[in-house]
Symmetry: C2
Subunit: 434 residues, 2 copies
């Protein structure tokens, strides 16, 4: 027994993670890629153990959790193989660390560089989907960061088996297995959010209310978004056929995701022609429509929308519809009720596009295409760590660049500031190297 | 009398500011530059009124505030002329808005751009220095942002005269004077920090404790730093002459600023030779030295440092000194006690530099030059809106780029996601335009 107060076990874990992360941060691309390949091989070796652990999780959860959650929890051989292939894909991505963003001579022999570097330690909180742990760890290693994972309680056995294999894999490499940690209890989530001295970024993956809880209960920066209330505005100059096709895609192709639309705004001069067409197409896809008073005058058989509809992310086959008098009214509605995620205009009028792009305050503003394109993979980022709806960068779909920061590195040869001040002040040259 | 509850007057002000800012955000560079020139001219015209208001502020404050604060409050003709010249300098800076960061074809006719845009509304809280209002407004206009200023109570008359002139100037231009607002009471500061729906970035300028108060009492992103506890590490391979000169510059050239050093870490093998030399040079500049036990063995006449010294920003002619056994110990001390601002190594050993640059977790890491170079103007940014010690970008000295964010803009021609999924999925081309 020690006579000193024992520190929180989570602080000890965080310190170990940071220590391992400090070394990982300056590891070469080769070292990190070798670690990623070792993880892939260790997961292949542990395949049976992982699948058995998942079976136990599923059996325990079967009676307790709803069907969609159960499906996410399930990890079959096929899903696991895909996840391991995903690990190797991350190995092939460009190293986000060590990129020189500024390289400037301030004066002869005084050279400034701004260079990307790892953030430090990531705290990633996810719910039932166990293969998320695999993807997250590979992204963390590639970006030179330590990672503290917190999984949902339903997935504990699966995640323990996965992280055991990952640590086993890392133990064969130059990357310290302490760089990856797994937490499993709800109390630890709360404690993790308080570790602003040890954790540099929190990425919550889960329900809107869970993400909002995280945002409101930590001083650590949070990458993500609570809501995805996306809008489509059908302008008076819209091409009707494009408008119908894109609306159906943006709502019904996959309604459960954050970049699907929840509200359709229609210019009053196109409403009579457009609404019956789009209603038929959407109803064929089993989409329930809810309209404001003017919409009901054209589509009398749909449900009446109430104030709450304009601020609801249905994540389901439901769409609210409102008729607006002008482009400006549509933009005002979007900026009032939207979540700064993704909003689109359908029009053939270039001036309207310019106004929409300039004044809709969202991370993604689209013209004549589906909001569903708002995605890191579709943007060509190779990986997506999340979609951020904050105002400051990183904003929108965030790839590996969201897991790095930068440092200013300056080298001189005895340079002092006194030489550049006062009566005989030297001037800076400020020449960029190209 | 209205029968409705009147909303907080600050919300009404914030809404007016946002409305004006939305238009300012999409103004051309010419429009913004004309507004900046109009501000400069209006300030010249209102010169007498501003100087008289400042005289009244100074008379009211003379008995109440300490001498250094009084000096900051004073605005003479010379200071005002410099501030107006500064406005015109901002006019000459490159427009930070509208820069294309990504320009990519996702598929034929489906074009993605990532483009910089204004943040929205800035909340800037500053203390006694009235000319700060002039600089801030010109930076806000140049970056297309609205700005709500809150000045210290000592400077209210001066700032009211300045903002009156600025609004008068703007009223002659295409920029709505509502884009610039001034708050003057302490209650309003608290209320401003709660306006996370209306204000996109807070920049506090003031004492460490004030900045910390702001950071801890708002959900709005804060740009700045509370502490500037900068270190100098004198390695075993240090050149003695450079080490002495740079140490004196970093401590004594201007000790009140955040990039001056507070602690000197000296490798044990150089201490006996280096410490007497540097002590003499520093004492000639009236710097008080405080040393750990081993330092006192070499410099017996200086004060003993206590634990609190390692975490104190003196902002004064005081320097703490500690002898360390290795580069690793120096780095550990810096990462423990530093404020992630600016830390430097003096050495002729390239490997030590690499380790120091890689593992010191600070925004600015320097080699063989003074920490005092950590500054937006010296880095060649033209203007500095603050120095950030957060881990995520923007980090370190922040120029106009800290006042902008970006948006993804995508244009298609009826493109839908369904075409890129399933059995006959089209592939993305992901070609960058050059």
């Amino acid at each position: 027994m020690t006579t000193f107060q024992v520190a929180s076990p989570l602080i000890a874990i965080a310190q170990k993670t940071r220590q391992a992360a400090t070394k990982l941060a300056i590891s070469s691309t080769d070292t990190k890629n070798q670690a990623i390949e070792a993880i892939a091989q260790a997961l292949e070796l542990a395949k049976d153990e992982i699948l058995q652990a998942n079976l136990a999780d599923c059996q325990a959860a079967a009676e307790v959790i709803p069907q969609p959650l159960y499906k996410r929890l399930q990890l079959d051989e096929h899903k696991l193989r895909d996840a391991i292939a995903g690990v190797r894909d991350v190995g092939k991505l460009a190293d986000p660390v060590g990129k020189i963003q500024i390289h400037r001579e301030l004066d002869t022999g005084l050279i400034l560089k701004r260079i990307t570097c790892a953030l430090g330690v990531l705290g990633i909180i996810f719910e039932a989907r166990p293969e998320a742990a695999i993807q997250i760890v590979s992204l963390a290693i590639k970006s030179g960061n330590g990672v503290i994972l917190k999984c949902g309680k339903e997935a504990v056995r699966s995640c323990e088996a996965i992280v055991k294999a990952i640590k086993q894999g890392l133990s064969q490499t130059a990357v310290n297995p302490d760089a990856v940690q797994l937490l499993t209890t709800r109390e630890e989530t709360r404690e993790l959010l308080n570790l602003d001295k040890y954790v540099d970024l929190i990425i919550p993956r889960g329900s809107n209310s869970f993400v909002r809880f995280v945002q409101e209960n930590t001083r650590i920066p949070v990458l993500g978004h609570a809501d995805g209330i996306c809008h489509f505005y059908i302008d008076k100059m819209a091409d009707m056929d494009k408008a119908v096709d894109i609306t159906v895609d943006a709502k019904a192709q996959y309604p459960a995701v954050c970049n699907a639309i929840e509200t359709l705004l229609v210019h009053q001069s196109t409403a009579a022609k457009f609404l019956p067409k789009v209603a038929q197409a959407l109803q064929e896809c089993h989409v329930e429509l809810r309209g404001d008073t003017r919409t009901l005058a054209i589509l009398p058989n749909i449900v009446a929308a109430t104030a709450i509809d304009w601020e609801t992310e249905y994540s389901d086959y439901i769409l609210s519809i409102k008729i607006v008098d002008s482009l400006e009214d549509a933009i005002a509605h979007i900026n009032d009720y939207g979540s700064r995620h993704t909003d689109a205009i359908v029009t053939e009028d270039a001036t309207a596009v310019e106004t929409f792009f300039g004044t809709v305050n969202s991370a993604n503003v689209f013209h004549n295409c589906s909001t569903r394109f708002a995605d890191g993979f579709r943007y060509g980022f190779g990986a997506e760590v999340g979609i951020s709806t904050q105002q400051m960068p990183p904003r929108g779909p965030v790839g590996l660049e969201g897991l790095v920061t930068y440092k200013y590195q300056m080298t001189g040869n005895g340079h002092i500031v006194a030489s550049y001040t006062g009566a005989n002040a030297k001037a800076f040259t400020h020449q960029d190297f190209v």
